[in-house]
Point group: C2
Chain length 246, copies 2
């Protein structure tokens, strides 16, 4: 595990990150509010809000494995910079992407004692590691930690359920849903810089790269989006997207 870390960064800004996780259907009632990325306020809190669990920041190269399927789940991870994908291979080689994790978001939560997905950095990423045992140990005594662990698991559950809903839709709807999902997590105006490849998107949506590509092209032709470059998507007509998504 964690064999491909490039170097253990100095901990200068380990805590200078705020917690940001995918907003659930209704996050106004969560015990803590994910603060969305904004230009001001780069100061931020370590994982788990204000709990005094400090992690180790590590740097991973793009394509570097953070942990593998089947490995013991010893840590919880928070993306500081970069992007991470979790993935799983079926017996016949097909790959399923479980999710993408952007700066501020937390991954590595697992039901059991071992990871059922692997995690890889998509681009060079700085990741904060928190020992899981430290956390669950703490949770056994500190109910506030326990609450936050529960809240994180709920977010992950909401994410998985939303993923299920995506996968029963048509190709157009999946792609539109994906774009909206990403747009909601990168609240930079209407443009989305996609750090992942078409193959990653395809494996997340249960489609082929060709279908993803064609669908983006057709959305572009319908003036719903535009693509200055293949990795940069500009939302030209968000309501059309939500209309496609249902």
């Amino acid at each position: 595990m964690i064999t491909q870390a490039i170097d253990i960064a100095s901990s200068e800004d380990a805590n200078l990150i705020k917690l940001r996780h995918k907003p659930a259907a209704d996050n106004s009632t969560q015990p803590f509010k994910p603060r969305l990325h904004s230009t001001a306020d780069t100061r931020a809190r370590p994982i788990e809000g204000s709990i005094g669990v400090v992690g180790t920041p590590m740097k991973f190269a793009g394509k570097a494995e953070i942990y593998g399927e089947g490995e013991p789940a010893e840590y919880l991870y928070q993306v500081i910079t970069g992007t991470v994908r979790t993935s799983k291979f079926l017996a016949d080689g097909r790959r399923q992407i479980g999710g993408f994790y952007l700066p501020g978001e937390i991954f590595g939560l697992e039901a059991g004692e071992e990871h059922s997905y692997s995690a890889e950095a998509i681009v060079e990423s700085r990741i904060l590691l928190i020992k899981r045992s430290a956390l669950v140990g703490l949770a056994a005594r500190d109910t506030e930690v326990a609450q936050q662990l529960l809240a994180l698991t709920w977010l992950e559950l909401a994410r998985a359920q939303a993923h299920v809903l995506l996968l029963v839709k048509t190709a157009q709807e999946r792609v539109a849903g994906f774009l909206l999902e990403m747009a909601g997590r990168i609240p930079e105006g209407g443009s989305i810089e996609l750090p992942m490849s078409r193959q990653d998107i395809a494996d997340y949506l249960g489609l082929t790269i060709e279908t993803v590509s064609r669908t983006l092209t057709s959305l572009e032709n319908e003036a719903v989006i535009s693509r200055p470059t293949s990795r940069l998507v500009v939302l030209r007509n968000r309501s059309a997207l939500t209309r496609i998504d249902p």
Copy 2:
């Protein structure tokens, strides 16, 4: 909410049920072990293991709604007898089944303060209700309750992730996976009494009833299963099924 309850049963055997939830990939390490149904030991514990939270047993007719999408999530539910499905309608009328819950299993766990799926009894069912507020209140003080709430949420997460994996497979694989999933939860030898309709199965698997039916027929032709009646499936060759599933 709960407008269609037929009657509030007397609580004779409210506690005579053991906790049984879908085993996750590795449940041997869970804080508590779901005990599988066996002929002996019909005595059992109320929801949440041995925690002193007692619920109210209610009876629901088949097709009765237990709670609706968007309603406040005030309760947690444990199936005593019968079967429950959770479902959600997309804007255009398509229905997605979130999951099926068999005797002993718990549903109604939600990330937010309101249900994102509705729940209906598939057949006449007895359901144990536990006030959620009582539980989370308890969890704030009792770390053991908190642990078990967390464990339940993990199970639900594992369930949703398994569902995602099902949905990216072929029709044959989905149906095979569904049969294996049900077989693993009804440990009665090799035969599965399906309480749900083909439409329910189709909406769970993201297929049409015709495809489900045809797939079952072809499995029968290949001598992998047999169907004494349309709702009763006998597994004739489980390893062939696991080979299909990958």
